[in-house]
Symmetry: C2
Subunit: 306 residues, 2 copies
């Protein structure tokens, strides 16, 4: 396993491809933006003019595109699957609905190539550092074959199941927790604002209690501002919680909390605020309760140290 | 402020009274269980035979009883309020509904005594260590007067607002987050179980991602067992999320996530499982989805280290 095709050289894919090069792999890089292909070539990659050219002669083909539609476009419409040698492995690392991943895996296996469902978490920081958590789902023998490729990009490679789609499901469960955690912080802060509790003190207390979460500490402070810097938008969670609910429908699993949280993000987007920071889902609570960011009372004397 | 009456010498109240004694306060202790009164007397407290006796001549009266009904019983029916000197301060530290706290405060103020709403977080560990977080709500001058008493029991004393009831509200918001966080972990694990993802690996990945929460790390592992050790019961959250929803009704604030989470705890209790560990709210998801603790697939090869 020495030659790796790489399709999708964006903010995540580019540093991931850099790490493959650094580990000595021959990388054939393709992106719809030719300047990205040229930039990777400067680092020692073979520039590919098409998706099919990136796949030609590769032992494995990594897909780090935006969504399942782009993965299907590259593999099927643009001929990357046909260009892959028999028995080579397609590694889908983009975040996609489990059902779409399962369907794409079937197409790939039917064509005599192998498929590994391998979404990641860790963001751009993890992609640059090569410390991504990779959630790989495929028969163990297939995961073992591509292990050196995955290990070049991730700090931890988890084998989460034997069937493609299970990796996407783990990523989906991750997004279920993230989305509900953001919405419930908004619900809690909106209640506090309605009854006139100081939100700075509330955040300080909650962050040190059993009520704490990664999202409370990260998004909570941004909920105290009317227009915070955007790190991830409301519309991302309209999409991701939509994928969560789609996974629940496919599995016939009830997801009442995720469904409610989705409605709050959806309404925020529906008011034309979908491109604001996802912490601004709190505006849907303010809209419901007739409060706003300015409903916060004057802080009383702050921390009285014992 | 040297003499403190203390009513409610349970698992929280007893160590809190110990810390008052250790800081040099004269403590007049009362509990319905006379052996608790005797035990505190051994540590140097004045034993009180009645709630009124604990209040007589005290500069402040701490109430660490089970609920608002017990606080009302001690203050009104049992004569503690009447026995308190004019201008002395009632400090309610039990977890009570904000509305009940506001009503009780009005009764106390009408009788010429002052009232501080001061619930705590930190549990028995914090009570013993004197490191409780205390959420005090009252006019700043009143909080200042009892500051030495609060500081003897808490590591941090937060002044969360000028009106009694706001402390109870902060504690209520804390419980809103805790309850929804437990339920959403159950919802996420139940989805994973339905689609056949290994829950040990899922917990390992989520605990290290943006999906993490204090409750995920604490309750998550207990959700993987059918009968975990009980640290706090399902019925506690049936009660606490009930208080949350009552606070929302009083404030006219919509709490859709808390309402859904309450239903899941309620159904668990309704099946006769209210005295199980609160992590077992996952059983309501299993009941809905037709899964169970044994629905977990055989773990595939675990962590493949990069």
């Amino acid at each position: 396993m020495t030659t790796v095709g790489f399709i999708g050289l964006g903010s995540m894919g580019m540093p991931m491809a850099h790490n493959l090069l650094a580990k000595g792999f021959t990388v054939q890089g393709f992106d719809v933006r030719s300047d990205s292909v040229a930039a990777l070539a400067v680092r020692g990659a073979r520039p590919a003019a098409t998706a099919a050219a990136a796949a030609a002669g590769a032992d494995a083909l990594v897909l780090m595109v935006v969504n399942a539609a782009q993965a299907e476009q590259a593999l099927l419409a643009d001929g990357a699957l046909e260009a892959l040698p028999d028995g080579s492995v397609v590694i889908l690392m983009a975040t996609c609905p489990p059902g779409a991943v399962t369907a794409l895996a079937a197409r790939v296996e039917a064509a005599g190539r192998r498929f590994v469902d391998a979404p990641v978490s860790g963001g751009v920081v993890g992609a640059v550092a090569g410390s991504l958590s990779i959630m790989a789902a495929a028969p163990v023998a297939v995961v073992e074959r591509v292990r050196p490729v995955l290990a070049a990009m991730g700090g931890k490679v988890f084998h989460v199941g034997g069937q493609p789609g299970q990796g996407a499901t783990v990523k989906t469960v991750n997004q279920l927790l993230c989305g509900v955690h953001i919405a419930v912080v908004a619900e809690a802060f909106a209640l506090a604002a309605k009854v006139g509790v100081d939100l700075d003190i509330l955040l300080e207390i909650m962050s040190g209690s059993a009520a704490s979460s990664w999202m409370l500490k990260d998004r909570g402070p941004r909920m105290l501002h009317a227009d915070p810097e955007i790190t991830s938008t409301v519309d991302i969670f309209v999409k991701d919680l939509g994928i969560v609910l789609e996974a629940g429908r496919d599995a016939r699993a009830a997801l009442p909390l995720a469904a409610v949280a989705h409605q709050m993000f959806l309404a925020t987007s529906g008011r034309g605020e979908g491109t604001t920071d996802d912490s601004q889902v709190i505006r849907s609570y303010h809209a419901l309760n007739g409060t706003n960011q300015e409903s916060r009372p004057e802080p009383p004397d702050r921390l009285i140290q014992a």
